[in-house]
């Protein structure tokens, strides 16, 4: 098992290196010139040249690439060209918000998706099955920005039961910073009021974000369960007299969800990228909104760092998923080695 984990970790390293290089090239071939924005309205060409030289923007692209890769490998992601602050600090302020939202959405997708998939399969071709199918097609088809605005209009404006935007009520203020995850930090601080308030703020963005994932997971679980139901060991387990609940959850589901777990790993990437639109609409102060602002102002150091951080998080989640999969089904690890 240890060898398997090590192998998975080592395999992600070249991918990350490729990401560093590719993202740099892609960001720098765009003709946006941060120097023009930095220098302001009436800057003369000479002033622009001076600023380009100061930030190394005048050097050949390959030279800039070498410098960039070297910096990243030594753990230096550089400073935001506008604020002058290390981008790592700025990202550290933003990442927990995105992680909280993404994990909440992932949790909802997984729990609801697996439950719905199971219910649909057990009710094969029945009304519930059709309902779940409708939900999955809808979940994949509905644009998240539309759904987000609809949820805001219904639950915040008309029914007035959930907040419209942000992570916490302005008058309350955030819990003392420990992890940056408001749900966790408010519990650590023993502030139930803050916990409830942040959970209420989390509901609409998490529901919006989870829908496509939920639909995918429900579909995969449903087909996995249907397939597992045909297997001989299910018949054997039934003959051995296990309770139907135990049969469904332990014997059928465990065999059916290995594919689903792989999907969860892939979904994580989709969730993080989907979070850009959802964060913007719900004014969720995460990496997505940070990336949008970096793009609009050509702050390429910030943009590169966001790409890299998301890449690393994605890689870590996928390694974890691989390990979980091997724990559920040890044959996976054996086959891989």
């Amino acid at each position: 098992m240890a060898r398997y984990v090590l192998r998975r970790v080592l395999l992600t390293l070249p991918a990350l290196f490729g990401l560093i290089l590719l993202s740099f090239v892609l960001t720098r071939v765009v003709p946006a010139d941060p120097a023009a924005t930095l220098a302001g309205d009436a800057a003369t060409p000479a002033q622009l040249a001076e600023i380009r030289a100061r930030y190394g923007l005048d050097r050949p692209l390959w030279e800039q690439a070498v410098v960039h890769v070297g910096q990243v490998l030594t753990g230096n992601l550089g400073s935001s060209i506008f604020s002058g602050r290390p981008v790592v600090e700025e990202i550290a302020l933003r990442l927990p918000a995105t992680l909280e939202l993404t994990f909440a959405a992932l949790f909802l997708s997984a729990v609801l998706g697996i439950s719905l998939g199971l219910v649909a399969a057990l009710n094969h071709n029945g009304p519930l099955d059709h309902l779940v199918r409708l939900l999955s097609v809808g979940g994949l088809a509905i644009a998240s920005f539309w759904l987000a605005i609809m949820l805001q209009l219904v639950f915040s404006m008309d029914l007035d039961v959930l907040p419209l935007r942000g992570r916490i009520d302005v008058a309350l203020g955030p819990p003392p910073h420990v992890t940056g995850l408001f749900l966790l930090d408010s519990l650590i601080a023993g502030r139930l009021d803050l916990f409830v308030d942040s959970a209420r703020h989390l509901v609409l963005p998490a529901v919006t974000l989870c829908l496509p994932g939920l639909a995918t997971i429900a579909r995969f679980t449903r087909s996995g369960v249907l397939e597992a139901l045909q297997k001989d060991f299910v018949l054997y387990a039934r003959a051995a007299g296990y309770s139907p609940f135990r049969l469904a959850t332990v014997y059928v589901l465990r065999n059916a969800v290995t594919v689903t777990v792989t999907q969860i790993g892939l979904l994580f990437g989709a969730l993080i990228s989907g979070a850009v639109a959802v964060e913007a609409i719900f004014d969720w102060p995460g990496l997505g909104t940070y990336a949008v602002q970096a793009i609009l102002s050509a702050d390429y150091k910030a943009l590169l760092a966001v790409t890299l951080v998301v890449g690393v998080v994605y890689a870590v989640v996928n390694v974890v998923v691989d390990v979980v999969q091997a724990l559920i089904d040890p044959r996976v690890a054996e086959q891989a080695l």
């Binding site: 924005t37 220098a39 003369t44 002058g84 805001q152 009520d169 409830v196 308030d197 469904a248």
Partner: protein, 542 residues
């Protein structure tokens, strides 16, 4: 058969699964009905929903959001107040100018203190200007051509002297751009000769009416301000000043409007989309403040590239834009038609200046003439728009339809501000056309016609029409150094007349700033510089 029996056995397990799903739904529902956090006994702080700048360092950036920090956290020697904006002495109580216009002396008021309690002296003003010039970022651009760091000196504790290398009439108009910072707070944080830029990006060193809580700061996302009781202007003008302000920019326009209607924020930015004005005005607890500003909407033409090197081609385009349709229908009349490069409400415009009308027959006539002179009118013309700013897209789409009627093909290219301004360094990389606004950075025609149509500024985004007229260059150069206001007015009027006749760009309207406000916000006072973001005059109605 076997499967069916098996499925039958699963019915009961399905019920149990449904039961657990039901429990989860009940839990979620309880979250909906749980009471919100107890209402605060004291007044809810002012929640300002306008944008924050990319950095809090007032010498590192100059855009509309940065003026909020400049006006509330810092002070300048002079300040613009009211609408039309009047330049009033601020930290300085007065100034003198030498006859040749080169030496400027400013006398500081007595008893000014920074937020840390230390007294402000002339040396602090010298430090601030030297820092600005050494960093050479956006706000320095107005001073660099005429002012060297060593030519800013302290004559005594309360007098600062500036010696300009050439006379520069807009100098005083640009002085309010410069925040006076506290060197004693900054210097311990200087790293690698950065003048403390990295530190000041998230902190402050000001004397302004409000101080910031650095702990609360999340770049472009959250900032808490607290009233500075010791502000040198005192608080006698405001019986109930606001003690706590939370700046919480809302990125998306639709969310911003909903948040205002719902009372989550007290102010939007000052560019509320015109189709939202009625909705905000109709709501019993919100209103829209409408104030004519100084911000000209402009469609640029690259005069260095055919067909725009031909005056008839440019006139064809100027006549083909449906000004009334755009201003009155699309923007619902919430803008003011602007005839030339300077805003209507600024001095220096000729009294008889006439705007180009929308006249497709005339447009066609000029296009035919241009075509006859060999201008490639038939080629596809690209217009670059700022995708995130819907109005730039709407203007281009409307123009595209009208130009088609005179046989001109316009291609709309989605882009961003940073990408477009990055390409305006050379005529060949500058787009055929692009769309933007010229905002009020300082109140002088130099900010509009001066920096836009004097060929000495070629290579900057403002001069990206690549317009060149030696007569205009000469008039603008004279106006820049003339010290007599009446003479300057005459020179700018003459230059404006020539520029408008040459039609290097298409000037569409002067902006009416539209800021959605909660009705509990009182004392809101608008000035084109700062767009009404100055907090010291505001109070909250209970």
């Amino acid at each position: 058969m076997r499967l069916r029996r098996l499925l039958a056995r699963f019915q009961s397990s399905r019920r149990s699964a449904l039961r657990s799903t039901g429990a989860a739904a009940a839990l979620a529902a309880s979250l909906l009905v749980l009471p919100q956090a107890p209402a605060m006994a004291q007044q809810r702080p002012l929640v300002w929903g306008d944008n924050l700048p990319a950095t809090l360092d007032p010498h590192a950036i100059f855009d509309v959001p940065s003026q909020f920090i400049l006006l509330n956290v810092y002070d300048g020697l002079y300040r613009y107040q009211g609408n039309p904006p009047k330049l009033v002495p601020w930290l300085a109580e007065s100034h003198t100018t030498s006859e040749d216009g080169l030496v400027w002396e400013f006398r500081l008021r007595p008893g000014i203190t920074f937020h840390d309690g230390s007294a402000m002296t002339a040396e602090d003003v010298v430090y601030s200007f030297r820092r600005l010039l050494a960093m050479n970022r956006a706000p320095a651009a107005a001073f660099r051509p005429v002012l060297k760091p060593e030519d800013v000196t302290a004559v005594d504790e309360r007098t600062v002297r500036f010696v300009l290398s050439t006379p520069y009439a807009p100098f005083l108009a640009a002085v309010p751009l410069v925040a006076i910072v506290n060197p004693r707070v900054i210097q311990p944080h200087v790293q690698n000769d950065d003048w403390g830029n990295a530190w000041l990006a998230a902190n402050e060193a000001g004397s302004g009416a409000y101080r910031i809580d650095p702990e609360s700061y999340r770049p472009r996302n959250a900032l808490d301000l607290e009233r500075f009781a010791g502000h040198f202007m005192g608080w006698g003008h405001n019986q109930k000043p606001i003690d706590q302000v939370r700046v919480r920019p809302v990125l998306e326009t639709s969310t911003r409007v909903l948040a205002l209607l719902r009372g989550e924020i007290d102010s939007t930015d000052s560019y509320l989309p015109t189709d939202q004005v009625e909705r905000v005005d109709r709501n019993p607890r919100t209103r829209v403040a409408k104030d004519e500003s100084m911000r000209v909407f402009i469609l640029r033409m690259n005069n260095a590239k055919p067909p725009f090197d031909n005056r008839d081609a440019r006139l064809c385009f100027a006549y083909a834009f449906n000004y009334q349709g755009f201003n009155e229908v699309i923007l619902k009349g919430l803008v003011v038609r602007n005839a030339g490069p300077n805003p209507n409400n600024l001095w220096g415009n000729p009294d008889d200046l006439q705007p180009y009308p929308f006249d497709l027959a005339k447009a066609k006539e000029h296009c035919d003439r241009a075509r006859a002179a060999g201008a490639p009118i038939g080629r596809e013309i690209e217009i670059h728009v700022q995708s995130e700013l819907e109005q730039t897209v709407q203007a281009a789409q409307m123009f595209q339809a009208d130009l088609r009627r005179v046989g001109v093909k316009l291609k709309i290219v989605p882009s961003t501000w940073a990408t477009i301004t990055g390409s305006t360094g050379r005529p060949e990389s500058t787009p055929d056309m692009w769309v933007h606004w010229v905002s009020a950075y300082f109140i002088d025609p130099e900010n509009w016609i001066g920096q836009t149509y004097d060929s000495r500024f070629h290579g900057t985004w403002k001069a990206s029409a690549w317009y060149r007229n030696p007569q205009v260059d000469e008039l603008l150069a004279k106006a820049r150094i003339a010290l007599d206001q009446a003479e300057r007015e005459k020179l700018y009027a003459e230059a404006t007349r020539l520029v408008v006749a040459d039609s290097p760009d298409i000037w569409v309207y002067n902006t009416v700033n539209l800021r959605g406000l909660s009705k509990r916000v009182q004392g809101y006072s608008f000035s084109p510089v700062g767009s009404g973001g100055e907090l010291r005059t505001m109070w909250l109605q209970d």
